[in-house]
Amino acid sequence: MIDNNNFLEKFKEVLEIEDQEIGLEVEFRNLEEWDSLALLSVIAMIDDEYDVIIKGNQFKELKTLNEVIGYINSQL
């Protein structure tokens, strides 16, 4: 199981939104900073931190950060 807070910190770092209060239930595609580059950066961060590569079509199914964390945990 990965550390949820650590994941959230890394996610905010990638999107450069360290000063925003967001929770794990956030639908991250609705964030103003979310775009195709953010998507690649998040996939890269997850690969870096957890050695898990989430394919594009799998990632599409994940709506909230909780779901992303769930997916990472299922791959560990």
């Binding site: 195709s36 580059l37 690649l40 950066s41 890269a44 394919k55 594009g56 990632f59 599409k60």
Partner: protein
């Protein structure tokens, strides 16, 4: 496992030609402001590209220039060349094969073997393996391998996720039969389930060109383009590249019983910096082992590996052990190992 190994194959030289039209991404209207551009640049590393623009230049024109200069530099006469292979996905015509036209334009002999290969980012590696297989027995002595694309014309100018990434280039690589020269080896792979990750939907025979093909609209992926312009599913290609490219390189190293640091130079297909750096670090390679050309030339599809070789010639030796890995449209990937011994690598030309 798909492992091929040859011992009589030598790369004699390589050259590359690009259109003399440099486009700086920082001036692109696709970016709202400087910060917006900086974010793009930090991830992709692509500052500029050379594109054909409205010049009418085709892949064949760029490749013919590269081939003529190379043949002159290595003193290969037209009638000494037995085999001409062109790898491109932007041919002159639907038919005939562009390599036939180039045989005539280069003045090669009429009993020349010519072949077009339709592959992109992995194309140079595949075409090199075809040339190697044809030459290995010594029946054919000399082959010219042309690899080029004018990919910029296939992208929608309204799509910031593709348009600023691609540049145009044509290259030539001279390969000959050379008894017991050294080791040339390959690893290959294909995953056609990802065929729609990089794709032009209309204009072939599955979906012939029709009036709707020209309609620019927002597609299901949110991008503005028409169906004669290329789809690029960035996330799909990104995850594919960072998983398959390092695997393929590791497999080939292991088949050859080599350690990563026993190969001096790694030439990767130039996709974008974030992706390529990830591949580099996964393989634990030093920065000086991995030259780049994408900062100046962008992603040049099948031309990227030989273009990078030409671009980096001052930084890395044209001797020693090389690994080249291409990955992308298909989805298709391939890795080549080869050794250079005083290969003639020419300066890039601008036409």
């Amino acid at each position: 496992m798909s492992f091929l190994k040859f011992k009589n194959i030598k790369i004699v030289g390589a050259s590359a030609t690009v259109p003399d039209n440099k486009v700086f991404n920082k001036n692109s209207p696709l970016f709202d402001n400087h910060d917006d551009y900086n974010r793009f640049f930090e991830s992709t590393g692509i500052e500029s590209r050379y594109t054909v623009g409205n010049s009418g230049l085709c892949t064949s024109d760029l490749c013919v220039d590269a081939a003529k200069r190379l043949m002159k530099a290595i003193e290969w006469s037209e009638d000494s060349i037995d085999c001409l292979i062109l790898v491109t996905q932007t041919p002159d015509y639907v038919l005939p094969a562009t390599s036939c036209i180039i045989q005539d334009r280069l003045g090669l002999k009429k009993n020349c073997y010519t072949l077009d290969i339709s592959l992109g980012c992995s194309g140079w590696v595949y075409a090199f393996s075809v040339a190697a297989a044809i030459l290995e027995s010594g029946a054919f002595k000399r082959a010219i391998l042309l690899a080029g694309d004018t990919t910029s014309v296939t992208k929608s100018p309204l799509d910031r996720s593709t348009y600023p990434l691609f540049g145009d280039a044509g290259t030539a690589t001279a390969i000959e039969f050379s008894q017991e020269f050294g080791t040339t080896a390959f690893d290959f792979g294909t995953d056609g389930s990802g065929f729609d990750s990089i794709m032009i939907k209309d204009g072939g025979y599955r979906n012939p060109v029709n009036e709707k093909s020209f309609l620019v609209e927002q597609k299901e992926d949110g991008k503005l383009r028409n169906d004669l312009q290329s789809i690029l599913n960035g996330a799909e290609v990104f995850t594919f590249g960072i998983s398959q490219a390092p695997k393929s390189v590791k497999q080939l190293l292991s088949n050859l019983d080599l350690k990563p640091d026993e190969v001096e130079t790694y030439l990767f297909h130039q996709a974008n910096r974030m992706m390529n750096e990830r591949i580099r670090t996964k393989l634990k390679l030093e920065t000086n082992q991995v030259p780049y050309s994408l900062d100046i030339f962008g992603n040049t599809s099948s031309a990227s590996i030989p273009l990078t070789l030409c671009h980096a010639k001052n930084d890395s030796p044209s001797n020693g052990r090389y690994m080249a890995c291409g990955f992308g449209v298909g989805l298709s990937w391939g890795t080549a190992y080869f050794e250079l011994d005083n290969a003639k690598i020419l300066d890039i030309n601008y036409i």
